[in-house]
Assembly symmetry: C2
Homo-oligomer: 479 residues x 2
C-alpha cells in the first residue's frame, strides 16, 4: 500500500470509529505531515482519496472536515450483460430523448447537457462574436478539411495534460465527438463486425453501432473501475472483435475512472488480439481531481488507439466542435469525415482556439469541476432522500451524471410515461444496452444549478417511483 | 412550339441574318408585344431564352441588346462513361484539392467556393453576431436533432419557389449538403449496392459512394439537358439500381438545367424500377433566370425523392448548414444524421433563419445571380482568348463553374503539377469520374471578382496547356 493510502486508511478508521464526528474539523495538512513523518503532498493525496470516498470534504480556506452527509448510497452491482455479440435495438427511446429540446416547463433530467450559464463562459461568447467580425470573412470560408490549424495547436497543448504527445498534424477537428466516434468506427470496421463495449454504454455510441450494422459485445463493467478485464479477455479469445469502444474516464453513464494499470492491461490485450481501441474521452477534462486522468491513448505505442473528444461537455454542445487523434488510421478517418459532413464549421473553431489561447478554458474547467462535484453530492443526497430505500447510486469521479439502479422488477420506460405529464424527463436505462437490459435503471443529469425547481422534479421522480414500485402493484394501473 | 419560343426563333433569325448587328439595341418589349400581338410576359420569356442562348444581353434600364460577344465556344460532347457499375478511385486527387485552404499567393480556380465578399452578405454577419448575444444562450445549446424550427420554417417557404410544398416537420437540417447526401445514401443503400449517377459527377458525391462501399453506374450525360434518359432506362433494366443520384439544376460541373419534361420522365423511370432519387439542388437557387427551376422533388408523389441542399453555395460554405427533405425515408435519415454528427450547430441556424426572415436571402440571390452570369461570360471569353483553339467549354445556366474539355490526349493531372509552382490550382477532370475518365478535362470556378490577377492566372493556365499539348511533346519534359 502506498504511503498516502496507508494514511487515508488510518484517518478513515478514525472517522468511522467516531473519533472525528460528522462536521468536525480534521487535523491540518501540516500537523498530519509532522505527526506521521510524511510529505505535505502525501497528506494532500490522502485527503483527496477520502474526499473521493465522500468521507471528508474540503472547505475553501478552512481546511478539511468530516463529511456531514454520512449516509452513502449503495453502489450499483457489477453489470452482467448478454455475453455474445448482438444487434442493437432501442432507437425509438433514444429518438424520444434526443428529439426533445429545452422548453419552458420541461425539466430535462435525462440529457447530457453541461451547465453553460457560468460567467467563465463569457469570453467564449466574446470570441464567437469576434470571429464574425465585419470585414474578416475567414469564419465564412471552408477551412482545411482537417480543421483550423490554430485550434489543432491548442488541442495538442491540452492533450499534454492527459499524458499525450500528439502533434497538431495528427489531429482532426470533427463536428462533435459523435462524428469523431462515427468516423473512427467506419475507419476500422465493416458492417457485420463485432465491437466490444463497456456496459452500460452511452446510447449515442450504441446507436452508431446500430446504424453502421455493427454488432455490440457488451462486457461486464464495475461501477468503480470500469470494464472487467477478465471478461474482456475471454470475449477477445472467443470472438473476432475488431475494436474495443470505451469511455474509461468519467464514464457515461457510470462515472468511474478506470485505473491506469487497467488502461495499460487493456492496451496489452488489444495488441495481443490486434483490436483497435476507440477511446471516448469527452468527459475526461471534467474529472474532479487535477491533474486530470491519463487516457489509454497516452500509453499507446503502435497507433491503435483512436482518441475521440469534444467541447460539448466542457463548453457547450451547440458549438458542435470535437476532435479525433486517430493514430495509424488518420487517412481513413479523414476520408470518412470528408464524406460524412465535409469540413467542420469555421467560426466556432476560431472562437474556441481564441478562448483556449487566452487561458479561459482551464479557468472554466476549474470552476466546472468544483461545481459538478458539489452537485454530485447534493444530487446524491436528494436521491437518498426521495427515492425508495435500497436504491443504488453510482459515485462519479467526474462529469455530471448519476446512474441509478432500482428494484430489479422496476420498469423505467413506464416511469418515463408517468413523468411526461408532470413535465419531467429522465433517461431510461434500456437505451444504454444493446438488447434493452437495465430497464430498472435511469440516468440523471446534475449539471445545472440545483434549484428548488429541480429538487421538486427529483422529488416527483422519487414519488412516482414509490408509487409504481412492484410492491404497490395492487393499486389500479392507469397506463 | 410555344408563343415565346416562336418569337425567340424569329428574333434569333434576324440577329443571325445581321438585321440587328452586334451591340445594336433591340426593339422594346412593348413594341414587340404590339407588333406580334402577344403579351408582355411572352416577349419577356422570349428575351430570357435568347439571353440564355447568349444572343441577347439585358442592360439595366436600357433594354435588350444584341450580344457583343459573338464568339461562342463549342460545347463538350455528350459524355461516354463506362457502362457498368464500378468501384470509385481518385481519393488522393480529391484530398489534394480539399486539403488546401485559401492562402496568400494561391489562386484556387479549382474549388467550389462562392463569392462571399458582396455587401448583401453583411446582414448575415450581423445575424451571426446577434445569435451570440450575451445572456442569450440558445446558440450554445443543442437544439432539436431535426434542426432549429425557425430555420426549417424559412426553408419550407423558400422551397415553394422550386415548386415544392414541404412542411417544416418534413425537413431535417444537416451539416452541409455533404451530410444530407451522405445520410440520404446510407438511408437507402447498403454496401455493395449500385447507384446511378450523372457523369461527370461532383467528386464529393463520388467519394461518398466510395466511402460507403457503393458502386457507381455512370450514365452518359448531355452538356445542355443532363443525363441521357435512354441510357438511364437501359441501365435500370440491366442492373439492380437502388438509387439515382443527380444534380439536375445548375449541375456541378456541367452547369446544365435538366428540362422539366426530363425530370418528370426520370421520376416515372424511378417509379417503374422502384429506385430512390437523391437530388442534389445545392446550386438550384443560383440559376440565372427567375423564377428558379423546379426540382424533381416538386413532381414527387410517393416520397421517393430525397431532396438535398445547403447554404454553402448561395451564402457561405464555412457555415456548414444544409438540409434534406427525405420523403418517406425521414425516420431512417434522422437516424443516420444522429449517428453521423448529432445535431447541427445552433448559432448559424439561428443566424440564417433571421437572415432569410428579413428578406436578405432573396436580395443576396438576385445580386449573385447577375454577378455569376456576367462572370460566366467574362470567364468564357478568357478561356477562348487564352486556351488552345478547339477547347470545348460548357454553357452553365446557373452556379459558378465552367467545365472545359481539352484535346483527348491531354492530361490535366500533369497540368496541375505544372501549375502548382505557379500558384494556381484547378480541379482535374478525373475526380468527377468513378474510374478516372475525363483526364482531358478541368473545372474552373468563376465566382470571385474577375480581377487582373485572376485573368493572369487563367492566362497562365492557358499558356501551360499550350506548352503541354501533345503536339509539343517533342520538347524536353521536366516532370
Amino acid at each position: 500500500m502506498t504511503r498516502y493510502a496507508t494514511l487515508a486508511a488510518i484517518l478513515s478508521q478514525r472517522i468511522q470509529q467516531g473519533l472525528y464526528p460528522a462536521g468536525h474539523r480534521l487535523p491540518s495538512v501540516r500537523t498530519l505531515s509532522q505527526e506521521h513523518g510524511v510529505s505535505i503532498s502525501t497528506v494532500q493525496q490522502a485527503y483527496r482519496l477520502l474526499e473521493e470516498q465522500r468521507l471528508v470534504e474540503a472547505r475553501p480556506k478552512s481546511g478539511y472536515f468530516v463529511h456531514t452527509q454520512r449516509a452513502q448510497a449503495e453502489l450499483p452491482a457489477m453489470t452482467a450483460p448478454v455475453q455474445r455479440p448482438v444487434d442493437i435495438s432501442q432507437w425509438e427511446q433514444v429518438l424520444e430523448l434526443v428529439r426533445s429540446r429545452p422548453h419552458e416547463g420541461l425539466i430535462q433530467l435525462g440529457r447530457g447537457m453541461p451547465d453553460i450559464a457560468e460567467p467563465t463562459m463569457k469570453p467564449l461568447i466574446v470570441a464567437l462574436r469576434n470571429a464574425a467580425r465585419h470585414g474578416d470573412l475567414r469564419s465564412l470560408y471552408y477551412d482545411s478539411i482537417q480543421g483550423v490549424a490554430a485550434l489543432r495547436e491548442q488541442v495538442a497543448r491540452l492533450l499534454l495534460d492527459s499524458g499525450c504527445q500528439i502533434g497538431p498534424d495528427q489531429l482532426l477537428i470533427t463536428t462533435g465527438c459523435q462524428e469523431a466516434i462515427s468516423a473512427g468506427l467506419r475507419a476500422v470496421c465493416q458492417p457485420g463486425d463485432i465491437v466490444a463495449v463497456d456496459s452500460p454504454c452511452f446510447h449515442g455510441t450504441m446507436q452508431t453501432l446500430k446504424g453502421l450494422g455493427i454488432k455490440a459485445l457488451e462486457i461486464p463493467t464495475d461501477p468503480l473501475t470500469g470494464v472487467s478485464l477478465a471478461a474482456l479477455e475471454m470475449a477477445l479469445e472467443q470472438w473476432p472483435v475488431k475494436a474495443i469502444l470505451l469511455t474509461p474516464n468519467c464514464n457515461n453513464p457510470l462515472g468511474y475512472i478506470m485505473p491506469d494499470a487497467h488502461k495499460q492491461r487493456l492496451l496489452t490485450l488489444a495488441q495481443r488480439h490486434d483490436a483497435a481501441i476507440i477511446e471516448d474521452d469527452v468527459y475526461g477534462d471534467i474529472a474532479y481531481h487535477y491533474p486530470r486522468p491519463r487516457t489509454i491513448k497516452s500509453f499507446d505505442e503502435d497507433g491503435r488507439v483512436l482518441l475521440c473528444s469534444s467541447f460539448s461537455k466542457t463548453l457547450a454542445p451547440g458549438l458542435r466542435v470535437g476532435w479525433i487523434a486517430p493514430g495509424r488510421y488518420l487517412e481513413r478517418v479523414l476520408h470518412m469525415k470528408f464524406i460524412g459532413s465535409g469540413a467542420t464549421a469555421t467560426q466556432p473553431q476560431l472562437a474556441i482556439a481564441e478562448f483556449i489561447r487566452g487561458g479561459h478554458y482551464l479557468q472554466h474547467l476549474r470552476r466546472m469541476r468544483a461545481r459538478y462535484q458539489q452537485n454530485r453530492d447534493r444530487m446524491t443526497d436528494l436521491i437518498l432522500k426521495y427515492f425508495p430505500a435500497g436504491t443504488r447510486v453510482s459515485r462519479p469521479r467526474g462529469g455530471f451524471m448519476l446512474w441509478i439502479e432500482l428494484d430489479e422488477a422496476f420498469d423505467t420506460l413506464r416511469l418515463n410515461r408517468h413523468l411526461e405529464p408532470q413535465g419531467v424527463q429522465i433517461a431510461v436505462g434500456s437505451i444504454f444496452s444493446a438488447a434493452g437490459k437495465y430497464r430498472n435503471c435511469l440516468r440523471i443529469n446534475y449539471a445545472p444549478k440545483l434549484t428548488a425547481e429541480i429538487e421538486q422534479a427529483v422529488q416527483r421522480v422519487g414519488a412516482t417511483i414509490q408509487r409504481l414500485m412492484p410492491s404497490s402493484v395492487l393499486q389500479p394501473q392507469t397506463d
